[in-house]
């Protein structure tokens, strides 16, 4: 049984821990520099909401990067979908919906408009993903080029739809999706359910390990780990509840992050994504249809760009021509800080989220300190380079 030594896994996780430590250091630093303002629960709540739009992109980008590809179009695509959402809500849907359902109240029409907008925007994202994925996976155009083209096309389309103007107004219901909060009691209920799930999963794992005769850690160890996670979740909700509750987009982000993490770690698809990123030839020779896998990864990326676009419109409460500008770069930076390797095969969703949170924290902290925007860009650039250097240097020492 020596051959199954679970200790190896802990070593790999150390990387995630260093990332968390880096995040905590950055937080402490800003806490000190801003005289504690950084730690106000209001700011904490804002910080999380600020990271959400980019984080939808980072989550999808992680899978793209793991396959050894890149998607430069997501920022423009997000902006494009955002402008479509605004156009639908401000120009197109009010007339059509009023014509179809004259009996509905203004509020009812608004909610209906938001639902239709969300569906159409997700479909647009999906379609964009299908097109780009097909071009990359089947027509074999390198992803860098295909998505560079996509970036220009969507940026152009934004100007075409908006005719260079900002589009308003946005329905209240869509604004609520991006700006609202989960009622505090509901937040607590969600936490309670989450904690129960954490403990059940821990028990389930023990049962499985026992079933196949693998060594299991002492019960107290697993119990402690589950407790730590539970305390973190609870602590988080208590902090944001201290302000207004969990921001809605944060809930959406967490749900998507959990789903995609599950997809990456616990499904065939996820396995294939990592395998083909590590060695596409060997994966192909193992009888796996690598083209389909790459195709699906880009479809998911398109869909998540759709989510980002919708939230962006609700958050800004307008469709703007600059929407989503440079988001792709921030998303890629988040993934890379989070440990994804641009040569493929490596990366995690949680890493990408922490990476995005680090970037968002820098931006948020520096804004509170009233640092000029030009400094903000420079600092973010330096941090990105430093993070990757540390990663490279630590790898060198290991080998």
């Amino acid at each position: 049984m020596k051959i199954l030594n679970f200790n190896r896994k802990i070593k790999i996780d150390i990387k995630t821990y260093t990332l968390i430590i880096a995040l905590i250091i950055i937080w402490l630093l800003f806490g000190y520099l801003t005289g504690g303002i950084f730690f106000y629960s209001r700011n904490f709540s804002n910080l999380l909401r600020q990271m959400t739009i980019i984080s939808f992109l980072s989550i999808g980008m992680t899978l793209v990067i793991i396959t050894g590809n890149i998607d430069l179009s997501v920022g423009s695509l997000t902006g494009f979908i955002s402008i479509i959402a605004a156009y639908l809500q401000a120009v197109m849907l009010p007339e059509i919906l009023q014509g179809l359902f004259p009996s509905l109240s203004t509020e009812g029409l608004g909610i209906l408009s938001t639902i239709v907008t969300i569906i159409i925007c997700l479909l647009v994202g999906l379609l964009a993903g299908i097109c780009q994925g097909y071009i990359i996976a089947y027509l074999k155009v390198p992803a860098f080029i295909a998505t560079l083209g996509g970036m220009l096309i969507f940026r152009g389309a934004i100007l075409g739809v908006s005719r260079g103007r900002t589009i308003v107004p946005i329905e209240n219901s869509l604004r609520w999706v991006a700006q609202g909060y989960l009622p505090k009691k509901l937040g607590i209920l969600v936490v309670a359910i989450a904690i129960i799930v954490i403990f059940l999963m821990s028990l389930q794992n023990r049962k499985k390990k026992k079933q196949y005769g693998f060594e299991i850690k002492p019960f107290t160890y697993d119990f402690l780990i589950a407790s730590v996670y539970s305390v973190l979740v609870l602590g988080f909700v208590l902090i944001v509840n201290n302000y207004r509750g969990v921001p809605n987009p944060v809930i959406i982000m967490v749900v998507i992050a959990i789903l995609v993490t599950y997809l990456a770690n616990n499904t065939k698809f996820g396995r294939y994504v990592y395998a083909l990123g590590g060695n596409i030839e060997a994966t192909k020779f193992s009888g796996i249809n690598v083209q389909v896998v790459i195709f699906k990864v880009f479809i998911l990326m398109g869909l998540l760009s759709g989510v980002a676009g919708i939230i962006l419109t609700g958050y800004v409460a307008a469709g703007t021509i600059g929407g989503g500008m440079n988001y792709e770069l921030t998303a890629i930076a988040g993934c890379v800080i989070g440990g994804a390797s641009l040569s493929g095969g490596k990366g995690t969703i949680i890493g990408a989220l922490i990476g995005s949170l680090i970037m968002a924290s820098l931006e948020n902290g520096m804004s509170i300190m009233n640092m000029s925007v030009f400094w903000q860009y420079i600092v973010k650039g330096l941090v990105l380079i430093l993070a990757v250097y540390i990663d490279v240097a630590s790898k060198k020492n290991n080998s």
Partner: protein, 513 residues
């Protein structure tokens, strides 16, 4: 006495995380000798020569190295330092730039300059001179990608010689060479010896040691077993030292139980079908029975690998001919279809085509088989680990953990991982493309036994091999290929080395490099 030993290695200890690769290695190398270094995979040969060549700098190992009685410690840019001192290594995997010419490769990083620009005339005339001086028969202006593997090897050697090396280390130089190329390499080495160059020669082919080396040092598990004079020993003795036991037979005996026909290939051609000369394989027909081992012999470039990858769907739709599986005609245009038909392929280049090196061992074993452990929603990881463990145990894969990165394994164990992944898929037909290339004697024997066991269990096996003895020792029938064509299928009893060689060279005299 000063000049007798050019290299003295004393008490070298080198640790890798979790493994001691070298424990207290000491031996001496005489000036002008060809000194053989042999041992099973993981015995520490490559680690040792990498220390000598400065790949691992001085502070990463313990012990002392004397070069011409002067202690050497390579630190920064250590490979460069080593070359300056006069120690250079020619790796198993060639390190040339395919799109550059021979001359450019030889002088890479040391291009002769004239007022800040490269002096191409001098570069090429110097390259030509070196090639001529050491009788290396290679066109100096050819692109490296146009050369055969054997010629590329010689470019590497020329590159080392152009830097006036005194000690040339060759790490398994012949593993990818044809007989003729090996012969000319041997001639070159003899010529270098004549010119006072000392060689350290690593190989898995013992016969080569007895052709050219003066002394042989045998390593086992990071220790020096002994250094012997080649003239005073025998192959059997060396093998016994390497594995630590007597090897009775090179190839295990198998009880043959050959069953019904499972695969039939008729007039298979693949590649560029428009031009006869550009086809990878031409008009190949053969059949394969359950429990049979069909050996495929042929030189590098004879189309033997192309034949099996065609069956595995690599050429997609650029294929003509018929394939029958259990009597039914089938079309295979992708690896996925081949796997679904129950065909497994252990490819020629396990690092490139066989393994995802950066991933855990168990993930590699289960890669073609994940469907077995998963439903629509999830992979049952523990069931998967449990299955992988069974195969890893039964193949005796040497690793501290199934979670270890595949790259950390030795070549032989990596090959076992590739075999394990196909065994788990319970194939009807298993194709092994040169499965023992670059693998030590002990693991080779294990793989032979495994092949026999699989055949006994009714799996049909196609085995390509670069070693004639291996094909003759393992196969029930031997198919010989030459220039993409099948030049003959021999019964085991009728096959001899001479006959196979004659067919493999297309009866013409093989003129060599």
């Amino acid at each position: 006495m000063k000049d007798e030993y050019i290299l003295k290695i004393e008490n070298i200890i080198k640790d890798f995380p979790g493994i001691r690769a070298l424990s207290n290695v000491s031996f001496k190398i005489k000036k002008g000798d060809i000194h053989g270094l042999c041992g099973e995979n993981g015995a520490g040969k490559s680690t040792l020569v990498k220390i000598l060549a400065g790949v691992y700098p001085h502070n990463t190992y313990k012990g002392k190295i004397y070069f011409n009685d002067e202690e050497i410690e390579f630190t920064h840019f250590s490979v460069r330092q080593a070359i300056k001192k006069g120690i250079a290594i020619v790796y198993q995997e060639l390190a040339l730039i395919p799109e550059m010419t021979v001359g450019e490769n030889i002088f890479l990083g040391r291009e002769p300059e004239y007022k800040g620009t490269i002096s191409w005339d001098r570069l090429f005339s110097d390259a030509k001179e070196i090639l001529k001086k050491y009788k290396l028969n290679i066109p100096f202006a050819a692109k490296v990608s146009e050369l055969s593997v054997g010629q590329q090897q010689m470019v590497e050697i020329a590159k080392a010689l152009s830097q006036k090396v005194k000690v040339l280390i060759l790490d398994e130089p012949t593993s990818a060479l044809t007989e003729a190329e090996i012969n000319s390499l041997m001639e070159i080495l003899k010529y270098l010896k004549h010119n006072g160059v000392t060689c350290i020669y690593i190989s898995h082919k013992l016969e080569e040691f007895f052709r050219i080396t003066d002394k042989i040092t045998v390593l086992r598990d990071g220790l020096v077993v002994d250094t012997v004079r080649t003239a005073d020993t025998t192959e059997e003795e060396v093998i016994a030292m390497m594995v630590g036991r007597e090897m009775k037979e090179r190839f295990p005996i198998r009880n043959r139980k050959i069953g019904e026909k499972i695969l039939e290939v008729k007039n298979l051609s693949a590649g560029n079908l428009l031009a006869q000369s550009k086809m990878a394989i031409k008009n190949i027909s053969f059949d394969l029975r359950k429990g049979e081992v069909l050996g495929i012999a042929g030189l590098m470039g004879s189309g033997r690998s192309e034949l099996v990858t065609t069956i595995f769907g690599e050429y997609g739709k650029h294929v003509t001919g018929e394939i029958f599986l259990e009597g039914k005609p089938i079309k295979i245009s992708s690896a996925r279809e081949a796997v679904n038909y129950g065909i497994g392929l252990v490819p020629e280049d396990r690092k490139k085509m066989g393994l995802v090196l950066m991933q855990a061992i168990y993930k590699n074993i289960s890669l073609p088989n994940i469907r077995k452990f998963s439903n629509a929603l999830s992979v049952d990881k523990y069931k998967e680990l449990n299955e992988c463990r069974k195969y890893a145990d039964s193949l005796n894969i040497k690793t501290p953990s199934l979670f270890a990165i595949t790259e950390s394994l030795s070549g032989g164990n990596q090959q076992k991982v590739v075999i394990a992944k196909w065994l788990m898929s319970t194939p009807k037909i298993l194709i092994l493309d040169d499965p023992t290339r670059g693998i030590d004697v002990g693991t080779k024997y294990e793989i032979y036994k495994l092949i026999n066991k699989l055949a006994k269990n009714g799996i049909a096996i196609i085995m390509i091999s670069s070693e004639l003895e291996e094909v003759l020792g393992m196969s029930d029938r031997i198919m010989v290929m030459h220039e993409g064509k099948c030049t003959g299928i021999l019964e085991r009893k009728a096959a001899t080395q001479k006959k196979v060689m004659a067919l493999a060279t297309g009866t013409k005299n093989y003129s060599g490099v």
